[in-house]
Amino acid sequence: MTDLPPTYPGQKKLGLVIDLDLCVGCHACATACKEWNTGGHMAPLPDFNAYGDGAWGVWFNRIHSFEDGEGERACTVHFPKSCLHCEDAACVTVCPTGASYKRVEDGIVLVNESLCIGCKLCSWACPYGAREFDADEGVMKKCTLCIDRIYNDNLAPQERQPACVMVCPTKARFFGDLGDPNSAVSELVAARAGTDLMPELGYRPVNKYLPPRRGRPHGEDREAAPLSAVIAEAQNEADAANPLLRWVDRLLSR
């Protein structure tokens, strides 16, 4: 059903939190996503021209790289992006068939492949580029938030997480209920001033991004080293005389 589910207080909003301060751009979450999902709920994730020019395929998660700042102050920021499971998901409401839907119980946005006519309108309606057309089957696919992992009784409880979260070698990805202000992810978002992408569009994404907090090239963001003054002093003293003199009485004990 294409209508968005009614909202109610305390509603579960499952989603991801991505820490741009930690992501090194390794693409693990992208390939693990591909690997899991090509055999998962929206399987397969086909590839076209796989071994020639113009190779492309269905990916639910991709890593972009940006630079911000200028010159020496520039920083590279690796930026993974998948479906943000928006609260006001226009990708759902534009869908003419009801194939796109947002689950009432947890807010996950899914596509019912058996209803989809492949009109692609949802991909136009998604500002974030999170919809993926499977040209083989003629239907739209997308990140399922690993719905076939997170509730999967065949997995150990600690493994009931999205594939992309499980693999991330820098632990830059978090999964949880962003509808619950006391959840670990919500607390993280609050503590780190997690943000929405393109809030001006009003899609109210559930996924949040934690901004990079690394310093600028020359470490200006950190307090100055307390001992540099000490060093300067010691230097002046020592340089006056033969610098070796200060060690003449030093004995090294083996």
Binding site: M1, T2, D3, L4, G54, A55, W56, V58, W59, R62, I63, H64, S65, F66, D68, G69, E70, R73, C75, T76, V77, F79, A90, V92, T93, V94, C95, P96, T97, G98, L115, C116, I117, G118, C119, K120, L121, S123, W124, A125, C126, P127, Y128, G129, F133, A135, E137, G138, V139, T195, D196, L197, M198, P199, E200, L201, G202, Y209, P211, P212
Partner: protein
């Protein structure tokens, strides 16, 4: 946005078809058109064929055309669904109206009411088509107040030009249709220019800074895309038209869609007989070229916010 021909054709053809239907449904019951069932047949058939061809063409764009019927289900939220429902729904009163007119030569009374109904439905269908685009927030060039008026005026212009051509086979020297066609052309021109001015002078509220939420850290630009070759998103939404081409195509659209049809309408208005008919026919032809160009540009000039993740600073 990638200008897919089936969609370009769909919006122009069915736009013209429904607009013509709108005019017929509105004017015939009021007795403003020749009552001849021959005229009714030709005019309505033209409208039906254009509208249907457009719709059929749009189905070819689908990944799963055989499931197209499912698109009627979500009229409560989806403009595409509404458009689908309305376009089909339009055919019901339109068919009754057509039967009444063509087979019974009746355009007033109950049949006339169905004519009105068909006109309303056709208008709503055009509005729905416009709204499909106007409702898409990620595309600034579509999500604006000019798109629906554009669809209306361009549709009406096409409808009037067609009507003026067809009517000439039944009326020796129509005055209303060429005059109205001329006005419609001018109105469409004005609204299209307004649209172009709008998209030339404004850009989306979103930019790469808001798309990445990194704006506060300085100027943001893409370093590396996620894939070195194009993916679906770029194939579908990464279409980029060079400024040079854009200018040239706009000029072609201006001339063929507006300048020539306006001049030809004038000739059709002032002239008579064959000359006027030829002018009217040329106006239709020229407008067809112009509208397809304009519609192609409508897609080609549209920039999707997803491109902010692929190197665009603004969209």
């Amino acid at each position: 946005m990638h200008p897919t021909f089936s969609i370009v054709f769909f919006t122009t053809a069915s736009g013209a078809g429904f607009a013509l239907l709108f005019l017929l449904g509105l004017a015939a019951p009021l007795g403003l058109l020749p009552e001849s069932s021959g005229f009714g047949f030709v005019a309505l058939a033209t409208a039906f064929v254009l509208a249907t061809a457009g719709l059929v063409s749009s189905v070819f764009h689908l990944g799963r055309p055989e499931r197209a019927w499912r698109a009627f289900s979500q009229w409560r939220s989806s403009w595409l669904s509404r458009e689908g429902v309305m376009s089909v729904m339009t055919f019901v009163p339109a068919a009754i109206f057509a039967i009444g007119w063509i087979f019974f030569g009746v355009t007033d009374g109950v049949i006339g009411l169905f004519g009105f109904l068909a006109a309303i439905c056709a208008a709503v269908t055009i509005a729905c088509t416009g709204m499909i685009y106007a409702s898409l927030k990620p595309i600034h060039q579509w999500h604006n107040r000019w798109v629906v008026p554009n669809y209306f005026t361009l549709g009406l212009m096409a409808g009037f030009l067609l009507l003026d051509l067809i009517i000439r086979f039944w009326t020796v020297r129509p005055v209303g249709t060429p005059l109205l066609a001329l006005l419609a052309v001018l109105a469409a021109w004005w609204s299209k220019e307004a649209y172009w001015r709008f998209i030339d002078t404004t850009s989306a509220p979103s930019n790469v800074a808001s798309a990445t939420a990194l704006g506060s850290r300085g100027r943001v630009r893409m370093l590396e895309p996620p894939h070195t070759q194009d993916n679906y998103l770029l194939q579908e939404m990464g279409f980029h038209i060079a400024r040079k081409h854009k200018t040239r195509l706009r000029l072609i659209a201006r001339i063929t869609a507006f300048v020539l049809p306006a001049l030809l309408c004038l000739i059709a208005l002032i002239g008579s007989g064959t000359v006027a008919a030829i002018a009217a026919a040329l106006a239709v032809l020229s407008a067809a070229v112009g509208l397809v160009t304009e519609r192609w540009l409508f897609f080609a000039e549209a920039k999707h916010t997803v491109m902010l993740y692929y190197g665009a600073d603004a969209v």
